[in-house]
C-alpha cells in the first residue's frame, strides 16, 4: 500500500479521504433532514421548508446555525462526564463505520491501486458491524447520564432493542457472506457482477432492511424515542450541539445501513446493465443509497409504531428464525451445487 507512492503520499491520501468523508457525512446528514421534511410534507400534503433559499434548500444551513447558537441547557443531577461523552461517542462511531464503505471500485493508476474506502481491511463488513455495535453506548449512557426517567427508559429500551436486532442483522447478512466467500466489501461487490445478490438472497435483503430500520431507530421501530410516551427518549435532556450530534449520528447511521444494503445486495458501485458502465461507480452508489434512503423516509410516514413487546417478539421469533432458515437453505444449495 505504501510502496508505490511513498510514505507521505500515503499519509496525504489518507488525510484527503478522511476530510472528504467528514464533509460528505456532514452534508449528507444535513440534507437528509431536509429530504425527510420535504418528503414527509409531500406525503402529508404540506409544503415543507420553502423560505430559506430556493425551494428551502438552505434550510439545513439555517438549522445548523440555529443549533450552534441555542442555549445549552443541562439537568442538575447529571453525570457530567458521561453526559458529554455520550453524544461524542454517537458521532464518532458513526463516522468510523463510514470509513470502511467502498463507494467505488479500486482504481489503478500506474502501479498504485487506489481503494475508495478509508480503511481497507479484509474483514471490512465485520469492521462496520463492530463500529455500529459500539453505538449502543452513546444511546444508553446518554439516557443514564441525564438523570431523567424519560431518558433512562428510552436508553434502556434502545439497548435491548439494538442488541436484539444486531442478531437479526448478523444472520441476514450471513447468506451473502456464504455466497461471496469473503468479508471484504470490495470483493463482495465484485462477485455481484452480472447478478446482484438481491436476486439470489431476496429474503435476506428484506430481513436486513427491516432489522436495519430497527438498528437505526427508524419508524416503525423508533421506540427509544417514542415521543408520545417518553418525551423524546434518550435525548430528552440534550440541547444545542450535543443534541445535534445525536441528530447527526442518526442520519449517518441511516446512510450506513443503506450503504451496507447497497454493497451486499444491490451491487454497490456496479451499474445495473453492462452498457451503462460509462457512468462512474460513485454515481451508481449514490443513486442506489438515495433510493433506499427515500424508502426509509417513506416507511416512516406510512407505518405506525410497534408496541414494545411486539417489537421484541418480532425480532426474536420472526426475523431470527427466518434468518437461520435462510442460512441453512443457502448452505445446502451451495453444497449441492458444489457436489
Amino acid at each position: 500500500m505504501v510502496g508505490a507512492i511513498g510514505f507521505w503520499g500515503w499519509v496525504g491520501i489518507v488525510v484527503l479521504k478522511a476530510v472528504i468523508i467528514l464533509i460528505f457525512v456532514a452534508t449528507a446528514a444535513a440534507y437528509m433532514s431536509y429530504a425527510e421534511r420535504k418528503v414527509s410534507a409531500r406525503i402529508q400534503l404540506r409544503h415543507g421548508p420553502n423560505r430559506v433559499g430556493p425551494l428551502g434548500l438552505l434550510q439545513p444551513l439555517a438549522d445548523v446555525v440555529k443549533l450552534f447558537f441555542k442555549e445549552n441547557t443541562a439537568p442538575k443531577g447529571r453525570e457530567r462526564f458521561l453526559f458529554l461523552l455520550a453524544p461524542s461517542i454517537a458521532g464518532a462511531v458513526a463516522i468510523f463505520a463510514f470509513a470502511a464503505i467502498p463507494v467505488n471500485g479500486p482504481t489503478t493508476i500506474g502501479s498504485f491501486t487506489l481503494h475508495w474506502d478509508l480503511i481497507h481491511v479484509n474483514v471490512g463488513l465485520l469492521f462496520i458491524l463492530a463500529m455500529t455495535s459500539l453505538g449502543v453506548y452513546s444511546i444508553f449512557l446518554g439516557g443514564y447520564a441525564a438523570n431523567s426517567k424519560y431518558s433512562l427508559l428510552g436508553g434502556l429500551r434502545s439497548a435491548a432493542q439494538l442488541i436484539s436486532y444486531e442478531m437479526a442483522v448478523a444472520f441476514a447478512i450471513m447468506g451473502v457472506i456464504i455466497l461471496s466467500g469473503s468479508l471484504d466489501m470490495e470483493q463482495i461487490v465484485t462477485k455481484q457482477t452480472g447478478l446482484w445478490f438481491i436476486f439470489l438472497q431476496p429474503l435476506a435483503f428484506f430481513l436486513y432492511f427491516i432489522a436495519g430500520l430497527a438498528e437505526g431507530n427508524r419508524l416503525p421501530f423508533d421506540l427509544p424515542e417514542a415521543e408520545s410516551e417518553l418525551g423524546a427518549g434518550y435525548h430528552t435532556e440534550y440541547s444545542s450541539m450535543k443534541f445535534a450530534f445525536y441528530f447527526l449520528a442518526e442520519y449517518i447511521n441511516m446512510v450506513i445501513i443503506c450503504s451496507i444494503a447497497t454493497t451486499l445486495f444491490l451491487g454497490g458501485w456496479l451499474p445495473p446493465f453492462a452498457f451503462l458502465s460509462f457512468i462512474p461507480g460513485v454515481i451508481w452508489y449514490l443513486v442506489k443509497i438515495s433510493l433506499l434512503l427515500f424508502t426509509m423516509i417513506w416507511i416512516r410516514f406510512t407505518l405506525p409504531r410497534f408496541r414494545y413487546d411486539r417489537l421484541m417478539n418480532f425480532g426474536w421469533k420472526v426475523l431470527l428464525p427466518l434468518g437461520l432458515m435462510n442460512i441453512v437453505v443457502t448452505g445446502v444449495v451451495i453444497a449441492l451445487r458444489a457436489a
Binding site: 474483514v123 463492530a130 463500529m131 455495535s133 453506548y137 444508553f140 434502556l156 439497548a159 444486531e166
Partner: protein, 184 residues
C-alpha cells in the same frame, strides 16, 4: 507502527488501572470497554483483523453493554474506602511479582527485538507448536479463512464442545428465570 503499539499499550494499561481504582462501578465497566478497544486495535495492527472485529463485537459491543446495563439499573453508590489499606499494598506487591514473572518467562529480548515489539514471537513462546502461522501466510489465505480452517479441522471437538456448553448455559438461564417467575 511501533509507536502506535506503545501508545495503545499505554491506553490499555491506564484504563485497566482506572478499572480497578475508580470508585464508581459504572466508570470501572467503561474503563474495561476502553481496555478492550485498545487491545483490539493492537490485534488489528498485528494483522489479526478477525480477532479485532470479534473482540469489539462480542466483548465491547455485547457483553460489556449488558454489564453497563445492569450496573446502571442497580445504580450502586460510589464506594467509600480508605485511600491506602493492606489490600492495596498486597495487591500492588502481587501485581509487581506477576509482571516480573511474565517478563522473565516471555524473555525481554523476545518481546522487544531490534526495537520492535513482536507479537508473533510472544505467541510462539507461549505455545510453540500451534503458532505455525506467520503474518504473510495468514494474509495470503485471509484471516477468517485460516481461523475457520483450524476451528473446523484441528480443533473441531473443543469447538463443538464449547458451543454445547454455551447452549447448556443459555438453557439453564431460561429455566432459572421461568422457575423464579412461578413463585411470584
Amino acid at each position: 507502527m511501533n509507536w502506535a503499539l506503545w501508545l495503545l499499550g499505554a491506553i490499555a494499561v491506564i484504563s485497566a488501572i482506572s478499572l480497578i481504582w475508580s470508585s464508581h462501578a459504572l466508570y470501572s465497566a467503561l474503563s474495561l470497554v476502553v481496555t478492550i478497544c485498545a487491545l483490539s486495535v493492537i490485534f488489528l495492527i498485528l494483522n489479526a483483523q478477525f480477532l479485532f472485529a470479534v473482540q469489539i463485537i462480542v466483548y465491547a459491543g455485547a457483553v460489556m453493554v449488558l454489564f453497563v446495563f445492569i450496573i446502571a439499573l442497580l445504580n450502586p453508590r460510589a464506594e467509600e474506602r480508605p485511600r491506602v489499606d493492606w489490600h492495596m499494598v498486597l495487591g500492588i506487591l502481587a501485581s509487581i511479582v506477576a509482571a516480573v514473572g511474565v517478563w522473565t518467562m516471555a524473555g525481554s529480548t523476545a518481546v522487544v527485538q531490534n526495537g520492535k515489539i513482536r507479537g508473533a514471537v510472544v505467541g510462539r513462546i507461549a505455545h510453540p507448536s500451534s503458532f505455525a502461522y506467520t503474518e504473510q501466510a495468514v494474509n495470503a489465505h485471509g484471516n477468517v479463512q485460516t481461523i475457520a480452517g483450524q476451528l473446523f479441522t484441528t480443533y473441531l471437538l473443543p469447538f463443538e464442545v464449547s458451543s454445547l456448553l454455551l447452549l447448556v448455559a443459555a438453557a439453564g438461564a431460561v429455566y432459572l428465570t421461568h422457575h423464579a417467575r412461578k413463585g411470584l
